[in-house]
């Protein structure tokens, strides 16, 4: 292997192994920032040794063992300062397996839970949402600060600072490194799911920048969701979220037109939907439904997506069922955005007039005041009812509100079409 090939191989190993290594170390040293530094020291050691000695057979165990040795050194140094660290150092040393294979076994034992702990910690409610997202992508997704910055169209130092501050906050708040139990668990799990879905959505319909979608970000979110589903298989909403993401991702290819413009669901070429992902999504939905309890918000959204996925044409979709699912989702979430989608489904099931009646109850909703989808939907229904002048005003309003360049173009095109109907 050439030097640069070895280098990129090490980088790849790092991406794959760093979440597990950082998770394992955090349990040992009880501080996320310190754990990340130690893990990074191990990476530096790998960069020094592997090019000459070759990549070890189990690189993850090698990184973990190296980092553990450094953790012991660190704790010993701190032990001079206080008794608690002395105990930790002794525990660690006596519990330190002798050979690499022992380390492997020790890692396999607890590693699943450690990853789960790391997810819950990175998504802790003590952190602002944007910090949860950045920390999750960095620690669990293995993304670099630069990659996160590019994905969210934010300056790199901003992300770096966000991560530093987040680690400091977690340390100061002495957030325990654990999977929460009891009543706290549900709220904390929702935060983890929310962060993953936020990442997915930023990839699925980018809120900033020139690209309409960023498929790589969807892939990252999907991977995090699949990892979570393996670690917490008893949680129906985890499978609900995975189902939702797989089903939505199945349409990614069809959502982009030949010139990079967005294509709406009902106008997509269904032959381009990814049947493999649809199959995976439906399987995840079945898993969610097989677990006890009423369906949660993600499972309901996945059921709606499944109605579309199963239909060969938009007309084939079971619109009555979709309307019912949206009504339940609206009850569960109380979200005006869901109600807006409910209106769209009603328009499909019972005609644009019925849909418009619901949309009109939402126009004074303060939380939707700057939401471009509201005038966009209203414009669409008005257009179908032949009220072109009104529709044009709505499309223009929507275009002014959206931050996505591609979507703005589409909305302006639709506004112009209202002015000059071709027939």
């Amino acid at each position: 292997m050439t030097a640069s090939a070895t280098h990129s191989a090490i980088e790849t190993v790092w991406r794959l192994e760093s979440p597990k290594v950082i998770a394992g170390l955090t349990r040992l040293v009880r501080d996320l920032g310190a754990a990340e530094d130690l893990a990074h020291d191990a990476l530096v050691a790998a960069l020094e040794q592997w090019p000459t000695e070759g990549i070890p057979r189990n690189p993850g165990a090698w990184l973990m063992a190296t980092a553990k040795h450094r953790a012991i050194d660190l704790l010993r140094r701190q032990a001079r300062l206080d008794r608690k660290h002395e105990e930790l150092a002794r525990d660690l040393e006596t519990g330190m397996p002798s050979g690499l294979s022992d380390v492997e076994a020790a890692m396999d034992d607890d590693i699943g839970d450690d990853l789960l702990r790391l997810m819950f910690t990175a998504c802790h409610p003590v952190l602002p949402t944007d910090a949860r997202v950045a920390l999750t992508l960095r620690l669990l997704g293995g993304l670099t600060t630069e990659e996160i910055a590019r994905a969210f169209v934010v300056a790199e130092p901003t992300i770096a600072q966000r991560i530093v501050r987040a680690k400091r906050t977690l340390s100061k708040a002495q957030v325990p490194f654990e999977v929460p139990r009891g009543p706290e668990r549900d709220a904390r799990l929702s935060s983890v799911l929310e962060v993953i879905y936020l990442v997915f959505n930023e990839g699925y319909s980018a809120t900033a920048g020139d690209d309409w979608v960023r498929p790589a970000l969807c892939d990252d979110a999907l991977r995090l969701g699949r990892v979570l589903a393996e670690r917490a298989p008893e949680e129906p909403e985890v499978h609900g979220l995975v189902a939702l993401m797989e089903l939505q991702a199945s349409r990614l290819r069809a959502r982009i037109g030949p010139n990079g413009e967005p294509v709406r669901l009902l106008e997509q070429n269904r032959a381009r939907w990814d049947q493999l992902l649809i199959g995976r999504g439906l399987a995840a939905l079945r898993r969610a439904e097989s677990l006890p309890g009423p369906p949660g918000a993600y499972a309901l959204q996945a059921s709606i997506a499944a109605c579309h996925a199963r239909a060969r044409t938009p007309e084939d979709a079971d619109w009555k069922r979709i309307v019912g699912l949206y009504a339940r989702l609206s009850e569960v979430t109380g979200s005006p955005i869901v109600k807006l989608n409910h209106a769209v489904a009603v328009a499909m099931a019972d005609g644009p007039e019925a849909g418009l009646a619901i949309v009109d109850t939402l126009t004074s909703e303060p939380s939707l005041e700057r939401y471009h989808y509201l005038p966009s939907v209203r414009g669409d229904l008005l257009e179908k009812l032949g009220r072109l002048a009104d529709a044009q005003v709505e499309f223009e309003r929507a275009a002014a509100l959206t931050k996505n360049a591609r979507e703005r173009e589409l909305l302006m095109t639709r506004a112009r079409a209202c002015m000059f109907p071709s027939g």
Partner: protein, 144 residues
Amino acid sequence: MRFMVMVKATKESEAGVMPSEYLLAEMGQYNEELVKAGVLLAAEGLHPSSKGVRVRFSSKDRTVIDGPFTETKELVAGFWLMQVRSKEEVIEWVRRCPNPFDGESEIEIRQVFDAEDFGDALTPELRAQEERLREQAQSRNAGR
């Protein structure tokens, strides 16, 4: 990005020799790791080419040829479909795979085309076809 990871056939696989219990367990564990890491989309094993068929095209003619086929090393015995972030990552995963057979064997990694890979190769005719399909969909919606 997605990769098709193909296990090449061997004399044993072509003879229909089933993998040992030990190998099955090793493979099972490997597959589980792939699932846990969220990279495995699909995985299948294929029957020997003696149960396979080829359809050969020559202008307008089609000839059906029954297996087995002789060029063993060019045949595929099984495959994974993996979703990873880079070619280096899929190579690292394949490096960790247990040897699928006793002795010599080979695994081939091929990237699956994404829509964006076509880029300019999406000819104006294909674009027009796309547009047409979309217009049909639009007029269908308008007619409701």
